[in-house]
Symmetry: C2
Subunit: 132 residues, 2 copies
Amino acid sequence: MIIKLNTASSTPIYVQLRNQIVMGIGRGDLKIGQGLPTVRQMAEDIGINMMTVTKVYTILKNEGFIEIDRRHGAKIKPTALLTDNFSEKIESELALLITESSLKGIEKEHFLKMCAEMFDRLNISQVAGGNI
Amino acid sequence: MIIKLNTASSTPIYVQLRNQIVMGIGRGDLKIGQGLPTVRQMAEDIGINMMTVTKVYTILKNEGFIEIDRRHGAKIKPTALLTDNFSEKIESELALLITESSLKGIEKEHFLKMCAEMFDRLNISQVAGGNI
DNA sequence: TTATTTGTATTATAAATTATAATACAAATA
DNA sequence: TATTTGTATTATAATTTATAATACAAATAA
């Protein structure tokens, strides 16, 4: 998967990398069970510090999106558990986004259509190397 | 309107204040045409520095949510113009939120229902001091 | 076994961001 | 005229972000 970082952005590099990996899983670029590059390899590939990659992998592990095993490396998990924390995070972020959209004149039906299309574009049920 | 800041949060105070004002407009707590407290008054009310409030008002002005006139102070604008920048911001944030939700097992229909309910809860067409 | 690779930890450093503080000033208002 | 307004400037401190250089035990590969 291709990672593109914007060092001029106000969004920290570690957040950009975290988001792009999550989006990669959602799009199906990163399949369930698939291994991520080692922290050193990823750091070299995208030209950032090893510790920044470690930070991202730790975040993704804590969020339940990947699992890290010393024997098998970092791998994409089948399904992440929905915690109360994450549920609240999603709801508050969505409420803000909807308020902003509405204030900007985006109508309910248009917004719902956008959401539906984005959902249909996802490909998260695939498994690396064929079916289970 | 009541502003609640969490200094323990990792979200900067100026972002918290900006978001709460936007949500206040969306909920109808802050009505169109209504004036915001002066930067000094707001700073005193919520116990933060005057320059931090200035920063927030400037952001809200640049985003088109309020207008600042030396003669009439800061006021909520009727409708904010949807720029390309804001449109892209909303789309990328929504895409990330939908991907995260899907990976956490939230299904499309449930997500759409949440969105619809949040839209219905908004009250942005009200005007301060009666109709126009 | 030995050498290498792995994730992880530690310490140090630098730059950028965030927040406060103390003033200052011109425009507008009372 | 005196006060209030948004805005600007400068300084300072704390926190966050990112890099750098090592180190180490566990696992793997030779």
